[in-house]
């Protein structure tokens, strides 16, 4: 592999990793407060892409010429809001009534919700892949040996901005503090006057909003979307979350980037047909040898 090729793969890997990071954050936040894997999270990512698909042709004509950038922001914000709403709704209807039940019950429900969104999506949107409208013109920048597209740059910048915003919310705001408190010890937090229901709703909303953005960013660079796209990406993002240490926010971001880079390099090697199995192999490897991930702390199970 030449040096140029190496850096090209690295760039592609970083931009792929940024998506994984955005979705992984949702998994990790929900796991942090509820200790459960929200299987339906990858499908929120899919719905984000479809919201972008339906909103773009309806909203963008209102923002001609130089206002286009404003239009993009409006589309993205609206998608985030709708995805957040949906995430909160799913938690309220499907997960909240089961909170006191065994974890397996919630897990099965989450699988049910995930399937419902996938095949309900197939029913509503149609099963055939759709080509995403040109929200941002995804052209190559520069003319050197390396190719970076505008979409890649924008996706990366937005991801970094969102990460900074998220860190601020979690570290500096009252709700963020409540989130950390619930994650640490839910019973103690509720005794200190933290409203657990609000915190959980907020967490689901925040995670779903990030997945929604990821859906749009993904569609800008990959151009075709379909109702089952969330399955693969969801599992990969989950792997990223576990890689970084589930429940750990910076870990999810690092895990996402790492997975993106590893996957791109495998995709460029002679094992390219195994590309989709890499995430699984990595996931299994981590869970077996270091379940706490890179940044997590090992915990001893107590009776």
């Amino acid at each position: 592999m030449s040096q140029v090729e190496f850096f090209q793969q690295l760039i592609n890997g970083l931009s792929l990793g940024a998506f994984y990071a955005l979705i992984a954050l949702g998994y990790t936040m929900v796991y942090g407060v509820l200790r459960f894997i929200n299987f339906a999270h990858g499908d929120i990512f899919m719905l984000g892409a479809f919201l972008g698909y339906y909103l773009t042709p309806r909203l963008m004509p209102h923002f001609p010429g130089a206002l286009a950038a404003v239009g993009v922001v409006v589309v993205v914000l609206l998608t985030m809001a709708l995805c957040a709403l949906l995430g909160i709704l799913i938690e309220k209807l499907a997960y909240r009534p089961l909170r006191a039940r065994p974890k397996l019950t919630v897990l099965i429900t989450a699988i049910g919700v995930s399937l419902f969104l996938e095949f309900g999506g197939q029913f509503v949107f149609g099963a055939d892949p759709k080509s995403f409208p040109e929200l941002i013109e995804d052209r190559a920048l520069g003319s050197g040996a390396l190719t970076i597209t505008k979409g890649q740059v924008i996706a990366f910048v937005i991801t970094v901005l969102l990460l900074v915003a998220l860190t601020f919310i979690v570290k500096r705001t009252k709700l963020g503090m409540a989130m950390r408190a619930v994650s640490n010890n839910a019973t103690a937090a509720s005794l200190m006057g933290v409203n657990i229901d609000t915190v959980i709703s907020f967490t689901f909303g925040l995670g779903s909003a990030l997945a929604g953005v990821a859906g749009i960013l993904w569609s800008i660079t990959n151009t075709t979307i379909d109702p089952l796209m969330g399955v693969q990406q969801g599992i990969k993002a989950f792997t990223a979350a576990v890689l970084g240490g589930i429940g750990n926010l910076p870990g999810a971001a690092v895990g996402g980037i790492l997975l993106g880079v590893i996957e791109t390099f495998v995709g460029g090697s002679s094992f390219s047909t195994y590309r989709d199995a890499i995430a699984f192999a990595l996931l299994i490897g981590i869970l077996l040898f270091r379940p706490a991930g890179i940044f997590g702390r090992m915990q001893v199970e107590k009776v």
């Binding site: 459960f36 894997i37 499907a94 009534p97 089961l98 039940r101 065994p102 974890k103 397996l104 019950t105 919630v106 897990l107 099965i108 429900t109 699988i111 049910g112 919700v113 995930s114 399937l115 419902f116 996938e118 095949f119 309900g120 197939q122 029913f123 399955v231 599992i235 989950f238 047909t273 195994y274 989709d276 199995a277 699984f280 192999a281 996931l283 299994i284 869970l287 077996l288 379940p291 009776v303």
Partner: protein, 351 residues
């Protein structure tokens, strides 16, 4: 005649009944026969998964992977070496020779799946709950990707030209054997250990039960029968391809186990029957005059072009079994998490 003998007689009766019914099934509608055989295969899958998910309490999402191994190994053996084997019996291979061949490849397929179950089970059964579910799901998908990359069995194009050896007799006789083995195992002194592992692992450990061993035994045995089911599936469908064993198939089997009630074999058998027939019934309903009539009256206020779309979409809804299954899963968990027949693990209220 005590209970143990009743079980043996029931097994014998079921095998004889399968043989008798199979004998008269020659003239049946091929499509109906296929559905009936699918019911039998699903019973094998659901009852064997119930041993892992229900009785032992280890939530596995990778059953389709083991089914795939059984299907591919048995199909490969019967297609590549079947003719040589039958030649040993001279000019014309009788029914007995074919029976021997088929049973042989089914068992070899089952053994291959069991070995895979051992390889997957030993490391992953250290994990619990969500993590076990996602790791077994991962292994199932890895098995599928490996098959996709194996040219000897056709890779992604699939493997075809498989003889049609599966009959109603084989399917239901083996379903009866599966039920017999699982029920007898759970009823035995040794088998009580599976239930203890599910109900309270730490307590089980404390009274000297080797929980890891029990989990692995359940996993390997479950994988073996999934492999047998895969072999039956391959030899009725003429051709198989890796996409036929994806995540959705695992979910389907899991839904059967959950609907029937985790840890209830009669419930799971019933659920396998119901969930195989239900999509067929809905598909029939979608094409029926009754739905046509209902649609005509329900949507009469719509304009012609809207009517056409609404009518088509309504039909599509009835044909989509995955939407049905997902709603069923959610509704069951919210309203009756123990399933139709299952008993919830006995736990103190304080836990």
């Amino acid at each position: 005649m005590n209970y143990r003998h009743v079980k043996k007689f029931a097994l014998l009766a079921a095998i004889i009944l399968s043989a008798v019914v199979s004998h008269f099934s020659g003239g049946w509608n091929q499509y109906h026969l296929l559905i009936i055989i699918t019911i039998g295969i699903n019973i094998v899958l659901a009852v064997s998964l119930n041993l892992i998910n229900g009785y032992t309490g280890q939530f596995s999402l990778g059953h389709a992977g083991f089914m795939a191994i059984g299907a591919y190994v048995s199909a490969y053996l019967s297609t590549e070496y079947g003719a040589n084997f039958l030649r040993l019996f001279g000019g014309h291979a009788g029914a007995l020779a074919i029976a021997l061949l088929f049973l042989g490849v089914l068992i070899l397929g089952g053994i291959a799946a069991a070995v895979a179950g051992l390889i997957v089970g030993v490391p992953s059964l250290r994990l619990k709950g969500d993590y076990l579910a996602i790791v077994t799901l991962g292994f199932g998908e890895i098995i599928r990707v490996i098959i996709q990359n194996t040219d000897a069995v056709g890779g992604a194009r699939g493997y075809s030209g498989i003889a049609n050896y599966t009959t109603l007799f084989w399917t239901f006789a083996l379903a009866a054997v599966t039920i017999y083995v699982v029920v007898s195992l759970i009823d035995s002194t040794y088998g009580r250990g599976f239930l203890t592992v599910r109900d309270d692992e730490i307590a089980a450990e404390a009274v000297g039960i080797n929980t890891t061993r029990y989990k692995v035994v359940a996993f390997v045995l479950g994988a073996f029968f999934a492999g047998i089911a895969g072999g039956l599936y391959a030899h009725i469908n003429n051709s198989i391809n890796p996409q036929g064993f994806d995540f959705q198939v695992s979910i389907l089997i899991v839904t059967m186990v959950i609907l029937g009630g985790m840890g209830s074999t009669p419930g799971v058998v019933l659920a396998a029957v119901v969930l195989t027939l239900l999509p067929e019934f809905l598909r029939w309903f979608a094409k029926s005059d009754l739905l046509d009539w209902l649609v005509r009256h329900a949507y009469q206020f719509l304009s012609p072009e809207h009517f056409a779309v609404a009518a088509a979409k309504t039909k599509e809804l009835f044909e989509s079994r995955m939407i049905l299954f997902s709603i069923l899963l959610i509704a069951l968990m919210l309203l009756r998490p123990q399933g139709l027949f299952g008993a919830l693990p006995r736990r103190k209220a304080s836990r």
